[in-house]
C-alpha cells in the first residue's frame, strides 16, 4: 500500500511520519500531483495558518487536485479545517469538501483558555457510525491543539465538548478528517490511523 502525505507549508509533519512508521508504513511526503493521485491513501495533516496554507495550495494547484481525489483522504487539524468551505482564520475561502464554515472559539468563562490544548473526549460515536472509530469506546480521550473549530454539521461523526460541542471528526464519501491529532493520541490514535489504512 502506498501512503502519501501532502507536502505543503503547514508545519511539522514529523509526528505523522513517525506514527505511520510505527505501523510499518513508509509514507511518501510529496506535492507531486501524479504521486498523490496514484497513492492508495492520502494524509493531509498540518499545523499552521489557514490563509497562508490555502494560498500555498492554490499556487501549487493542490487545491483542485485534493478535491478530485477518489481514494480515502484523511485531513488532520488544520487539514480538517482547510477541507471545509470557509475559515474565520484570515477570512479564508477553503477547499469546500464539507459545506460548513470554521469558527474561532470565543471563551465563555475565564477557565476557557484558547487554544483548546490537551486531552479531550470523543463522543456521539454511535450517531453516525464511521469506520474511523471502529473499536474506539465512547468518551475515549484524544489530543487536541487548536483555536478554530468545525461546528457540528450533517457530516459530524464524532463530537467533543469545549466551550461548546464541535466536530471532532467529519466524514463525507472518501474524505475523512479529525480536529485532534491521532498521531499524538497514544493507542487510541494509533487505532484510528490503522482504521483509516484499513478502510
Amino acid at each position: 500500500m502506498t501512503v502519501a502525505i501532502v507536502k505543503y507549508n503547514a508545519g511539522n509533519i514529523c509526528s505523522v511520519v513517525n506514527a505511520l512508521k510505527r505501523l510499518g508504513v513508509e509514507p511518501i511526503l510529496t506535492d507531486d500531483h501524479d504521486v498523490l493521485r496514484r497513492a492508495d491513501r492520502v494524509l493531509f495533516p498540518g499545523q499552521g495558518e489557514a490563509r497562508q496554507a490555502m494560498s500555498y495550495l492554490r499556487e501549487h494547484r493542490l487545491d483542485s487536485l485534493l478535491v478530485s481525489l477518489t481514494q480515502p483522504v484523511l485531513g488532520i487539524c488544520i487539514g480538517q479545517q482547510l477541507m471545509c468551505r470557509h475559515s474565520d482564520e484570515g477570512d479564508t475561502e477553503c477547499l469546500g469538501l464539507f459545506p460548513v464554515d470554521v469558527c474561532r472559539f470565543t471563551p465563555a468563562r475565564h477557565e476557557d483558555k484558547v487554544p483548546h490544548m490537551g486531552w479531550n473526549q470523543v463522543t456521539a460515536l454511535g450517531q453516525r457510525p464511521c469506520q474511523l472509530f471502529d473499536g474506539i469506546a465512547e468518551a475515549e480521550y484524544v489530543y487536541f491543539v487548536h483555536s478554530y473549530y468545525v461546528p457540528l454539521c450533517d457530516f459530524t461523526v464524532a463530537q467533543t465538548e469545549y466551550i461548546l460541542p464541535f466536530s471532532a471528526a467529519i466524514h463525507r464519501d472518501n474524505f475523512y478528517a479529525t480536529q485532534f491529532h491521532p498521531e499524538k493520541s497514544g493507542d487510541v490514535g494509533e487505532r484510528i490511523i490503522k482504521n483509516f489504512l484499513n478502510l
Binding site: 508545519g11 514529523c14 471563551p107 487554544p115 479531550n120 465538548e161 499524538k184 493507542d187 487510541v188 487505532r191
Partner: protein, 257 residues
C-alpha cells in the same frame, strides 16, 4: 471534558536519565526512551525531557535522543534545557519534539519568545519560570536553574511572555521544589486566574492529595513532577484513579482497548 494533565519530567545527562527509576522493573532504567515509553503506557499525558548536559557533544546526543523519542512515543513531549536561539528550537522541532521549553534565554532575550511564536506558532512555546517567594510575599524570577536572581517578578513576567506569544507557562516554585509538601497553590491560582494560556504547576509534589489540591486550589491545567514518579512513590495509574475519585477530569486508559 478537557482532562487535567499529569506530566513526568525526565532529566537527561549525556543521553541517560539522571534521577532514580525504581517505579517499574525496567531493564534499561537509564534509557530515557524506555522510561518515557513506560510512563506513556501508564497513562502519562505528556512528557518533558530536560537536557542538563553542558557540553556541545551532549547537545548532539540529546538531539539524537529527541529523534528516538519521537519515533517511539505516541504522546506529546516537550524538550528543554540549553535552548538559547531560534536555531536550537528549529533543531529540536525538526528532530520531532512537539514543544520546547525556554527559561533563562527568555529572561535574557525576551524577544526570543516572540520569534518562536512567529516562526513555529505559540503552541510550541512553553516558557518555564523558576521563582522564589521572599518574606514579603514577592516572587522573584531566577536564571540558570535557580542560581541567579533577576529583577523580574513572577506575575509581571508571566503576563509579558503571554503577550509575547508563549503558549503555556511552566511555573516552578523554588520554595516548594524538592520539599514534597505540596505545590505553590496560591501563586498558581493567581497565575491561572489572570492568564489566558494554560499553566503547568511544578515543584512540591509528595503525596496524592497534593495533585488534587493543585487542580482544585491552584487551578492548574497540568501538574509536573519528577522524583515521586521516578522513585515509585506515586504510580500514575493510582494517581489518575485518585484524581477521578475526587471529581477531577483525567484521562484513564486502562482496559479501554
Amino acid at each position: 471534558m478537557l482532562a487535567k494533565r499529569i506530566i513526568p519530567c525526565l532529566d537527561v545527562k549525556d543521553g541517560q536519565t539522571v534521577k532514580g527509576t525504581n517505579f517499574v522493573n525496567l531493564r534499561q532504567a537509564g534509557d530515557p526512551v524506555a522510561l518515557g515509553k513506560a510512563y506513556s503506557l501508564q497513562g502519562a499525558d505528556e512528557l518533558v525531557y530536560l537536557d542538563i548536559t553542558a557540553s556541545h557533544e551532549g547537545r548532539k546526543t540529546f538531539t539524537e535522543l529527541v529523534s528516538r523519542v519521537a519515533a517511539e512515543i505516541s504522546i506529546p513531549f516537550t524538550v528543554g534545557g540549553g535552548i538559547g536561539a531560534l536555531a536550537d528550537v528549529d533543531r529540536l522541532l525538526s528532530a520531532g519534539a512537539d514543544k520546547v521549553s525556554i527559561n533563562s534565554a527568555a529572561l535574557r532575550h525576551p524577544e526570543l519568545v516572540d520569534e518562536i511564536a512567529t516562526h513555529f506558532g505559540s503552541q510550541v512555546c512553553v516558557v518555564a519560570i523558576d521563582a522564589r517567594c521572599d518574606d514579603n510575599g514577592l516572587w522573584t524570577c531566577y536564571l540558570n536553574g535557580g542560581r541567579l536572581a533577576t529583577e523580574r517578578q513572577l506575575f509581571e513576567w508571566a503576563h509579558e511572555v503571554q503577550e509575547r506569544g508563549a503558549g503555556e507557562i511552566l511555573f516552578t516554585s523554588m520554595n516548594h521544589d524538592g520539599v514534597k509538601t505540596g505545590f505553590a497553590n496560591e501563586a498558581l491560582a493567581r497565575l491561572s486566574d489572570t492568564l489566558t494560556i494554560p499553566v503547568i504547576a511544578s515543584g512540591g509534589a509528595g503525596a496524592l492529595s497534593h495533585f488534587r489540591d493543585v487542580f482544585t486550589q491552584g487551578h492548574a491545567d497540568a501538574a509536573l513532577a519528577a522524583s515521586v514518579f521516578h522513585f515509585g512513590e506515586i504510580a500514575i495509574p493510582q494517581l489518575k484513579h485518585y484524581l477521578a475519585d475526587n471529581g477531577i477530569p483525567v484521562r484513564l486508559i486502562e482496559g479501554k482497548l
